[in-house]
Assembly symmetry: C2
Homo-oligomer: 266 residues x 2
Amino acid sequence: MTKMSDYAAWSPSDVRQMIREGRWDRPTSGMCAGHVQGNLVILPKDLAYDFLVFAQRNPKPCPILDVTEPGDPEPKLIAPGANITTDLPRYRVWKNGECIDEPTDVIKYWRDGLVGFLLGCSFSFEGALIQSNIAMRHIDLDRNVPMYITNIHCRPAGRLSGPMVVSMRPISAARVSKAVLRTGCYPAVHGAPVHIGEPDAIGIKDISRPDFGDAVPINPGEIPVFWACGVTPQAAIMAAKPDFAITHAPGCMFVADPLDIDYAVF
Amino acid sequence: MTKMSDYAAWSPSDVRQMIREGRWDRPTSGMCAGHVQGNLVILPKDLAYDFLVFAQRNPKPCPILDVTEPGDPEPKLIAPGANITTDLPRYRVWKNGECIDEPTDVIKYWRDGLVGFLLGCSFSFEGALIQSNIAMRHIDLDRNVPMYITNIHCRPAGRLSGPMVVSMRPISAARVSKAVLRTGCYPAVHGAPVHIGEPDAIGIKDISRPDFGDAVPINPGEIPVFWACGVTPQAAIMAAKPDFAITHAPGCMFVADPLDIDYAVF
């Protein structure tokens, strides 16, 4: 079986094509290295306003890269010609806050008035970290990144509220500083870490049992480093129990055309 | 008569109090040095969604700092206790795209369902520039900053579209690089310049005749440097001719509590 990192040099459109044809239904971390990846949230128009305000108030976990026109599945800003109903490996379909399906496309669920949001994902800056000689444990192990629900409260907006979800990467103590600086350049894809070390302090009881994704070992001399995660808005939406929503399955992202460097402040 | 720079050391709440009492009705550049200042846009809820999407698609001219709850004039994120209907020196009230009033408060125009947006303003990073020994000509001359309508098209969203408006500061050639780096740290308040030199190339025919604000001289050895300006969304809204809207008068900003440094990427 091929690994995510086998597709590091593929173009985003080729990877999207492979996914559209049903030939890849797993996480996308490490694919199309250097290109931005996006979390997906699809909502009825009546909840879309609350979601935009929620994202504005919580920019670290919810950096919006693209908003589709109501009823149109093409993300024109970050991937002209692509289709958010077919181009992600796996989706979650939600009714009244419950996941009712985890399909590999959502063509049959698409309808007029739905708005798609693509949000920056920390996978996008992993290329920069690897370039800086900071290994990504979950990529090396071909696993999904571990994600945790924290006790950090997001600022509420309308019907949306909830805790911040973070992703974790173990980093050797000597490289943590470099990791902060490299990711701090990318505020559009979660930016600098929100927390470094001390999982207890943000309500993580057992680092070996993530709430989403897969556990990874933390070796001696390594610090767990936490970045705001795009699963945060999913958690808030699910808590609001809207009639209907679609999201990506954790780790199964939309691979977009822009380069990470297009979003770099420096 | 006192000058804007006389209030450099005042606190935001004291300046807002002075404004609320009708004792200051002019531009705010240079007041409360180091604190973020915001452009104001007030819209009926039905246009607020288009505006949020427009801001997401055009983050350089439209960085949103706060969105008020419909009908509530308190900007809870950036100035708890303040009131957007009284705390700006001068407003513009618009009906069907025409300015019908330029009052010093908008209490009588406020009504249920209105949403206030506060957007980052380049005044906020002027303190950082002055700290870096880069003089602000318009502050030294106690004038409003010059602003120009360009031929750079914003990405449209719903009913909103239009050209980017820029502010201009003349900077000595040797200091331009420093000015880029200092302001690049502040993407939430327009960030790095969008254009350096060559006004013609962005459709500015006569640099001595700004579309908004006051002209300032450009001395020999100086380059005109252009930053995205918060008047941009005003121009787009006015072009859309909504039934009703309120904005700040150019240069007459909302002085908020956070420090510029709170928004710095580094």
